[in-house]
Amino acid sequence: MKTLLKNCKIVNHDKTIDGNILIDGETIADVNAPADTRADKVIDCEGKYAMPGLIDLHVHLRDPGLEYKEDIISGSKAAVAGGVTSICPMANTKPVNDNSTITKYMIDKGKELGICDIFPIGAMTKKMEGEELTEMGDMAGAGAIGFSDDGKPVCNAEVFRRAAEYASQFDSFVISHAEDKSLAGKGVINDSEVATITGLRGIPAESEEVMVARDILMSKLTGAHVHICHISTKGTLELVRWAKAQGLNVTCEVTPHHFTLNDRELLTYDTNYKMNPPLRTQEDVDAMIDGLVKGDIDCIVTDHAPHHIDEKNVEFDLAMFGITGLQTMLPLSLDLVKNGNISMNDLVRLTSYAPANLIKKGDRGEIAVGKLADIVIVDVDKEYTFDEELNTSKSTNSPFLGKTLKGAALYTIKNGNVVFEFTAK
């Protein structure tokens, strides 16, 4: 089947061109097709942007085991509704994704629906207990693209060292959830003036930074690729900059909420602003944007963390950490473009091109002849209320629910098929 996407502003990481995209089967056949090219299906994009489908390196799909929060089906639907066509679920499922059987289960369940590719991240250590290495070779063979105990830091430095070394054997990498739990203590929000005012216990920025420093040094020790998850503080960014200046094999990611919201939101004790790492100060938020502007942060990820309403509608201290993000990543990232921080090309690099390289999927991340036809048509001016009707995740734990957002995926195309169409007014 052939599909023609007419009148697109085709955005890649390096340039933007006006053109008509011809899709033949699962791949892109032409990006400069004549407007009258014959096709089975023609979509007039009316000058809207065509971006490579977003690739989210950091999601929690809760499947297997915690399907009351989300599953691979609902998570895939939330992804494509946000223009995301490839997602990397973390290993903290029940049971933990620490073996190839579960890795394969995740991939296969994603394929059954077939609207979004699932590239699981395997656990670094068995049961994510931070003690014994997992069978990374076996899992990589089954399709795991990286290894992480995300949600739980690996406390023992030698375990982290050996995991990084061992993962490199399979051309893979480790992803560090950097947090010194002893320093974070019983903290539930950022340790800042807001903690002083609210009486909520604080998590110091240094609890993140001390582990970032350690894991950067583990990369130095081993030469292995270490990717730092969801960075949130100015100090962390400075450490990553130092590592990159030394030529170390270190990369990092940031979530939209950490470059959009600051910890003043917590003055209301709203549990939909409770996440880990916590929202930090405006100075940290500005640093995150600066890191994106200067290219020190490699990619934008959601840390999509669905939780049931009963796990959020409780005392602040007892509420689960985390918010959903798949459907808000695009509008929040587009805000950076609107504010003049980054270009559309930067946006594509941060949300698609760079993540594709990090997970070594050369078949995507660009709109070019021969690449997979994973394309999102974006209306950057579309204004809408992100409400429960639009929300396709099983969970509603987003501080952006009920808020007006600008910028949406009009069409999401996966392997040449339209898998999502924005229909709300």
């Binding site: 340790d191 002083t196 005012i197 009486g199 216990r201 005392e315 602040f316 201290d317």
Partner: protein, 315 residues
Amino acid sequence: MSYKRKDLLGMIDLSKEEINYLLDTAQTFCEINERDVKKVPTLKGRTVINLFFEPSTRTRTSFEIAGKRLSADTVNFSASSSSTTKGETLIDTVQNMEAMSSDVFVVRHAYSGSVKFIAENTDVPVINAGDGLNEHPTQALLDLLTIRQNKGDIKGLEIAIVGDITHSRVARSDIWAMKKLGANVRLFGPPTMLPKHIAPFDCQICKTMEEAVEGADVVMMLRIQRERQGKLLLPSTREYARFFGLTNEKLNFAKKDAIVMHPGPINRGVELMTNIADCNRAVILPQVSNGVAVRMAALYLLGLSKKGGNNEDAS
């Protein structure tokens, strides 16, 4: 002037006028507590539920007495803060209590923000009887009432608060309220017990006990709550007493007519030496008496508000 809010959650939100109105109302109730027959029919037929999700004897008793002196039916409900593990959520518990046609909830909870959370999920007026590290507004009111009775106007007074500031809801409520009424507040305690980001309190931070007490009109010693802390905040009560406790020698730095306060229960020989606790400058027992009057005022103002009662005048 009147108190228009549904709830009494914390001092941070209240205006100076609201605080003074609460204090004036409380002062009128002090007289009732002096009578032989300590009972007025104000809240007859109203039900006050003391919802205590954290153990408390003193505050709960004070509220219970306050309710009874206003002729309310007071009922005590105690539950562990972790009762959610037994299957019932906090809001379910609260809505069950509401379904029994309650008129006021008095709530204590181990987690900061939880009383606000409850208030947002019920139509019943809620009085915060202490939420985690956050606020304990009736304690602040009884402190202010006691200071006012001894010193007149709060404005311009030098007040030292000494002890574990970080983990004290009493300190937070006192600081917010005292600053609003124009007092100069100084804080002192071991660095392990002072918030790292202390600027929002807008208080002078002292380095020694002498500096904290120097020229003070009021010295408020906080209770060292050993149960609330790990073992890392202080090495021993012995050393705490030496550097952070109030002795006669240190109290000499204060004004001659300075008063000594403590929210209770006292750790004698730790934060407060026995001879000071029992001297005539200590107003610790008047604080407790005023606690009943303050809680009567709060119950009166909130207990009548629900049914649209007139609370313009306390007499």
